[in-house]
Structures are given as C-alpha cells and as structure tokens.
Amino acid sequence: MNLGATLRRGLLVGIVALFLFLLGLPTLVGNVVMGWFNFASAAPGAWLLLCVLALWTGAAAVRQTTQPSWGQVLLNGLLAGLLPGLIVGIYVFTTGSLIAADAAVREWLVQVTPEAVGLFTVGLAPLAAAALIAGVLTAAGLVGGVLAALSVRYQWGAFLRRRWQAGREAIITQPVVQKSVRFPYTRYILYGLGAVLLLIAPLFLGQYWTYTLGLVGIYIILGVGLNVVVGLAGLLDLGYVAFFAIGAYTVALLTAPTPHGIMMSFWLALPIGVVLAAMAGVLLGIPVLRMRGDYLAIVTLGFGEIIRILSKSDVLTSFTGGPRGVRSVASPVLFGFDLSDYFYHLILVAIVLVVFLSHRLQNSRVGRAWMAMRDDEDVARAMGIHVLKYKLLAFAIGASFAGLGGVLFASRNLFTGPEDHALLVSINVLCLVIVGGMGSIPGVVMGSLVLKGLPELLRELSDYRMLAFGTLLVLMMILRPEGLWPSKRRRMELHEEDEQMAKPATGDSP
C-alpha cells in the first residue's frame, strides 16, 4: 500500500481546501445549501464541503489496491483524512485566534471575515474548534475509505451500471417507445413542439426571463458566428468583439439623436451594420491571414482593443460619442408598430437565419474546404483549395453574424458604449463555443444556455462566475477538448488514439 501517495494526496487536498477557504467557497456553499434546505445557518453546507473533500481523499487512497485488507483500509482512510484535517485545523486555529484578537485580517484576505471563520469555530475556542474539525475530517477520510472498500468488495459500481442499463432497456423496449422511434416523423414532431414552446415562452416566463433568454439568444448568434471562424475554419479570433462593436455602433450612430442626428430607421440601419461588419472582417482578414495560429490570436486581440480604445477616446467623441456612449438607440418599428416588446421573437428569427446559413455552409464545399484547412493547411493547398479565399470568407461570415448580434444588442439595450465591447465579450463567446463544442451548432446553443443562462439562475454565484469560467475552460481542455456536444468529426479528431486503442477491447461502439 503506497502510503507515500496517500500522504501526498492528502497534502494536496489540504492545500486545495486552504485555497477554497481563501476564496470564500465554504461560505458560498453553506449559503446555497442553507437556502435550499432552509437551515438556520450556513455551517452545515460549509462543513459538508470539507467532509466531501476528505471523503474523496480517503476513497482515492483505498482504491489504490484492488483487494485491501481492513487494516489497510483503516490506516489509509485515517491518514488520508488526517492531513487535510490537520491543515484545515491549523487554518481554523490561526484565523480563529486572529479574529478573536480583533486583528484586521479582512484588509488582507477579504474572505476571512468573522462570519466566515465563525462557521467553523462554532462558538468554541480556536484550539477546540481546530481539534474538532481535524477530527471530523479524519473521520470523514476513514468513512470515505470504508465506502470505497465496500464498493469494491460488493462491486457497487458494476451493480449500479447494470441497474442503469436494465432501466434503460426497460424503457426502450416499451412498445410505445419502439413505435415512436420507428415512426419516421417523430423527429419533426419533437422539433415542432420545441419551436412552438419557444415561441410562446414569453407569455409564461415573464419579462425578466424573456430578457435573459434574449441575451442568451444574442450570444447564440455570436457563438454561431465565432463557430464558423474558430470551429470550422480553425482561426482563433480573440478580437471578435470588434465586429460586434461595429454592428452595435452602426445602428447606434445612425439611429440615435446624438451625436449625429441622422435618425435612420432601424430596419435600414440593420443591413448596413451587418454589411459594414462583414467588410471589416474582410479588411481584417487580408493582412492577418498568413500568420500562425497564436500570432493570429494576438493580432485580432490587438485590433479588438484598438477599436474599443478609439471608440472611448476623447478625440473621436464627436464621431463615436466617446466614453459616454450613444443613447436612445432606435427600436424596430414595423408599419408604425413598435416591436421592442417582441425583441425575443426578433432574436429567435435571427438565430434561425444564422443557424440555417451556418448549417448549409458546413455541409457544403465551403465547409469541407474549411475543415481541410483547419487540419493541415499545406495539404489543403496542395489539394487545390484556395486557402486565402476561404479564410476571408470565414472571417466575413463570422463578422457579419457578429454585426447582426451587435445591432440587436444595441437596439434592445437602447444604448451602447465602449465598455460593452471589451475583450471579455470575445472571451465569453470563445468560452461558450469551446465548452459547447467547436464546429457544432447544437453545442453552441448548449454552451450559451449553460454559460449565459445558468448564472442568471444562480444569482448568488455571480461573484464566482468568471472563476468558474476559467476553471471550466482549463478542465474542458484537459478532459474533453471537443466540448459538451461536439460534432462527431471533432470528437474523432481529438480522441483518435483513444479510439484506436479502445477498438480491440470493446465489442460495438455507440
């Protein structure tokens, strides 16, 4: 039994736990749990978080050997829980004493507030509290080890898997299900139902959720556009927000009373915005096409920032409205009928348009050319694909989608300003394309729902949103770089070796 590995893992978990404390996560989890179960304090949730960590450490320690003896289980479980327990105990003791001595720890480490520390000292003296939590975590480690040993001995994993399979089989073999699967029009019925639901959703969801879904929709449009550039053509564009800005500023400057007073109608300004964005895409594309991937990323980032700073600057204020932005952007008015309440539906129409175009392109010659270029540019060129042309096309189409999104965004917000077009938007869109699945449209929709919709549901977590983004990006790249709902091709590309190794072992593939 590798005690050294257990100790090391325990140490690592202890440090991670410390880090979680400094980030204020136990308080957060405690508050969330308190809200769900209507507890009186946040302590249960906070302790639960730490216990789960210790549990996992214990389980992992025991699982190193296939048939552990109870003695080994006991020893490893205890040790696995002991180290995190000690580390957390020392932390609780230190912070508890400091808070008791009225030291201004808050000024240094913002999350170490009296309330947060109080969750763990639970009214005891610091030393007693430290001993308590150390003990609890050690016990949790032991419990984790025991659970792991039991699960191995009684084959819980295999058992659960069999039950899951049996359940699936039971449902699938139902005659209703079998018939509906074989019925050729099931798919269309389901899609139709979904479409109807989406259309009537505003009636039931209320204005607030409709507004949020609208934002999700705009990001879907942006995501589909970036998907064309990054996912299909393989060009990492970190300045994507520049095209978004061009669409937004076009409609704003053309339709608002200040600074120019042109007062064009929304419907006239919309195609102008889209076309200008597309032109910008081509203009940006020409000089940067010959660069290698990471340089392309940085150059586009530079362009995006240049546009933002210029729009914010004093010198160009008479043209762009400066740091104060452009107010009172026009809403879409159709035959005198103000459509601003129906923005949600407008966005839906735009999504359908954009998805349709993207889907057709993907399965056309252009799409295949893009994929060939993404895989290996030199080979593609050797096969006679005009790389320059297709890259420019990808940029232009991606940019025009972003322009469309920008026009809708500015008009819906009745305002746009330079900080609306910060690098963060590009990174957000990139995140949702990557997390959803590069090159896959359902993936983009899913990514947008998860990354833009979920934070609205979990308002308490808003402070941690960007932290979660960052963690998610790194984790996804390590564990599942093809995304949550990848196109089959992409998954094959990224897991080629795994597939080849897995083939002889398993019988059939899904």
Binding site: G206, Q207, W209, Y211, R324, E419
Partner: protein, 398 residues
C-alpha cells in the same frame, strides 16, 4: 445510438415545457397609464439600488447602499408588505448601467430605483426607465443635464454640478487666489461635465484656463499627461473624476514637476479611500463635501451606521445620508399611493412617479426637501475640504 439521442431530445423538450409552464405570473390589468405592480400576500416589494459595488469605485456603492439599507430598516413595511432591497452592481460603467436598467425594468416587482450613482450610468438608464415607468431617485448623480432630458421618472437629491463647478471656480479664484489653472477629467459624463462647468465659470471670473487634459480612468501611470500639464506651469489643477484616479494623479504630480501646483478635486474625490490610496501625497489637496445639518435624526443615523457596519459614517464617501434620504423619499411616496385591494397590494406606477415629484417640505437628513417640476430635490449646500495632517478638514476662508 439514435434512440438515445432522440429520447434525450424528447426529455429536453418535456423539461423545457415543464419549466415554461411552471414559472411566471400573469400581468394584471389596471387603470394607471403606465401599469401597476401587483403584490400578493406574502410577496415583497422590491426597491433597487444601483451603483458601483465592486471595482475601483466600490467605496461609493457600498457606502450609499448602506444608507439605503438603514432607511428601509427604519421605515418598516408598506401596508404590511415587506420591502426587499435589490442591489445591482455597475462597476461605475455606463454600459453596465444600461444592462442593469434593462434587467430591472423587466422585473415587474421592482417599483422604484435608488440610483444610479454615477452620472454616466444614470444618463443612459433614464430613457430605459422612462419606457418602463420605474421611478428613480438618485443620491449622487450630479451632472446638470440629467434633469433636462424631459424625463418624468428621474429625480435626485444630489446637488448639480452646475452649482458645484461655479462654487468651486469662485472659491479657487477668490479664496485660493489662483489665476491660471489646468482642468483635467476622466472623460466620463460626470468628470467631463463638471470640468467644463468649472472651466467656463473660472474664465467668466477673469481667470485663464491654460488647457484641458483627459486621462483614461483605471491606469497606474499618468506621468506623461502630467508632464504635459507641468509644461504649462499652472497655479492649480482642477480634476473632475473619482477618488481612485485622483489618488494616482496626486501621487505622481510631484514627480512630473507639479510640486508647486495645488490640486482641487470634487465630491467624487472625497473620502477615506482617497486618503488611503494617495497617502502623504494627498496633503494639501482639496475636494468638495456636502455638509449635513446637525439633527437628532442625523445623530441616530451615525450611531446606527457605526453599529451595523463597524465604520464611521462619511469615511467611505459623503453620500450615505443621500442614500438614506432617497430611499426614505421613495418609501414615503409608496406609502401615499399604494392601494390595498383584498389581500393584494397595488402600486400604480405613474401615480408613484407623480407622488415622488410632488414631494414638498419633506424633512430628510440632508435638509428640508422639496422637488421641483423637473425632479431636482436637493436640499444640501456645498463646502470645500482640504487634507491637513492626513485628515479631511474644512478648507480656509469658508
């Protein structure tokens, strides 16, 4: 497997349907021009506060939100219905202001907004709230043009920069004796507006404005623009902007060659945050302060503030009493127009906005408040403060 895919899609759609049908309250018909907010028994009335809660300018947002919290606590319920404070963060940016305004407008339970805090963010939100009929009372947005936009929902208890800029110009010319100044600002609605007013007023008095320099807020190094200003050799530098940037400016002024020049800030540069950030470089610099008349209510406010938040009132920013008054005024108007119908509480929006505009002779922390027809409800006067011995003290000659 195709079956599995189809089944998952089906499950997804059913879930979506369930979500859709489970949520949502139906809108209610009512006679008010802008519609009514209807609250069932047990629901809370939402009062929103919008300001910079995080980022460089968080001192303002945190401070004013505390004023709002104390006001709501002191007021209690409206006809038995609890008030819930929704705090939204703009980080001081206009764009966030617009996003927050749209978000709050879409929530039918939000009846009034204390905000926004910064002029730039307020400016962009006014048309949005106008459209949705949510009444505003800003504690600190001082840009003069805000009440000139023809809005029926915007009101403020803060003084205007018209007043501040002119008073500052007068003080600089007459009391401090400066004749040549350079005006700096951070490009925002507030800073640029105020700097412009001050510059015009100063020239009107006979002084010379050698130049105007804009800086980008949020940067760490202003030595280059300061060197350019130093080349003009002014007696005094007037800055329109916020404390975080003012602190950097004063720290780097000496190094750029402006040791002789005085630094004059504004209400945005006052506070303990400025003193912390600028350290010893803040010595001798000026800023604007809003003195609150002594009263029993104000002493109680100070005690409550200290007890609840562990900090002295006025340390973070001068505007917490304004936050208190804004919230109190809104709640006062709510009391007047809220109608109980059975178990429900109905709040007609236009009536509420009108009631707020019609406030007269209200005794608030900042003084005796009456709102004009365009929404100016300011009662307070201005005083100029100077940093002496590391503390804010009253400036000479007042």
């Amino acid at each position: 497997m195709k079956t599995l895919r189809r089944m998952s899609v089906a499950i997804l759609i059913v879930t979506l349907a369930a979500m859709v049908l489970a949520c949502g309250a139906q809108p209610y018909e009512c006679t008010d021009e802008w519609g009514c907010a209807v609250f069932e028994a047990g629901e809370t009335i939402k009062l929103a506060y919008v300001g910079p809660m995080t980022g460089d300018y968080s001192a303002f947002g945190v401070d004013i939100s505390r004023g709002v919290e104390l006001a709501v606590k002191d007021h209690g319920t409206v006809q038995g219905f609890n008030i819930e404070i929704i705090v939204e963060d703009t980080q001081g940016a206009s764009e966030q202001g617009a996003a927050v305004a749209n978000k709050l407008s879409a929530d039918s339970r939000v009846v009034a907004v204390v905000g926004h805090t910064f002029s730039g963010s307020t400016e962009v939100s006014i048309p949005i709230y106008d459209k949705s009929g949510v009444v505003m009372m800003s504690p600190s947005a001082t840009n003069p043009s805000l009440t000139g936009l023809g809005s029926s929902v915007f009101n403020r208890v803060a003084f205007t920069d018209e007043m501040q800029g002119q008073a500052a110009a007068q003080y600089i010319y007459e009391t401090l004796g400066a004749r040549q100044i350079v005006v700096m600002h951070d490009g925002g609605a507030y800073g640029q507006g105020l700097a412009g007013v001050c510059a015009d007023a100063f020239e009107g008095l006979g002084g010379t404005v050698l130049g105007t320099e804009a800086v980008t807020p949020g940067e760490a190094d202003y030595s280059a623009p300061l060197a350019a200003v130093a080349a003009l050799d002014p007696d005094l530098v007037y800055f329109g902007g916020y404390d975080a940037d003012a602190a950097v400016l004063v720290s780097q002024m000496a190094g750029a060659g402006l040791q002789e020049a005085m630094f004059f800030g504004c209400d945005g540069t006052y506070g303990a945050n400025y003193l912390n950030l600028a350290g010893s470089s803040a010595e001798g610099t000026f800023s604007t302060y809003v003195p609150i008349p002594e009263s029993e209510a104000f002493s109680k406010f100070r005690t409550d503030y200290q007890a609840d938040y562990g900090q002295e009132q006025g340390e973070l920013s001068p505007f917490s009493p304004h936050g208190y008054d804004s919230a109190a005024l809104l709640l006062n108007a709510l009391d007047k127009v809220a109608v109980k119908s059975g178990d429900q509480l109905i709040i007609p929006r236009k009536a509420l906005a009108d009631a707020v505009r019609a406030t007269a002779d209200y005794s608030g922390l900042t003084g005796n408040i009456s709102c004009t027809a365009v929404g100016e409800c300011a009662a307070a006067s201005i005083k100029f403060m100077q940093v002496q011995g590391g503390e804010w003290t009253e400036g000479p000659g007042q």
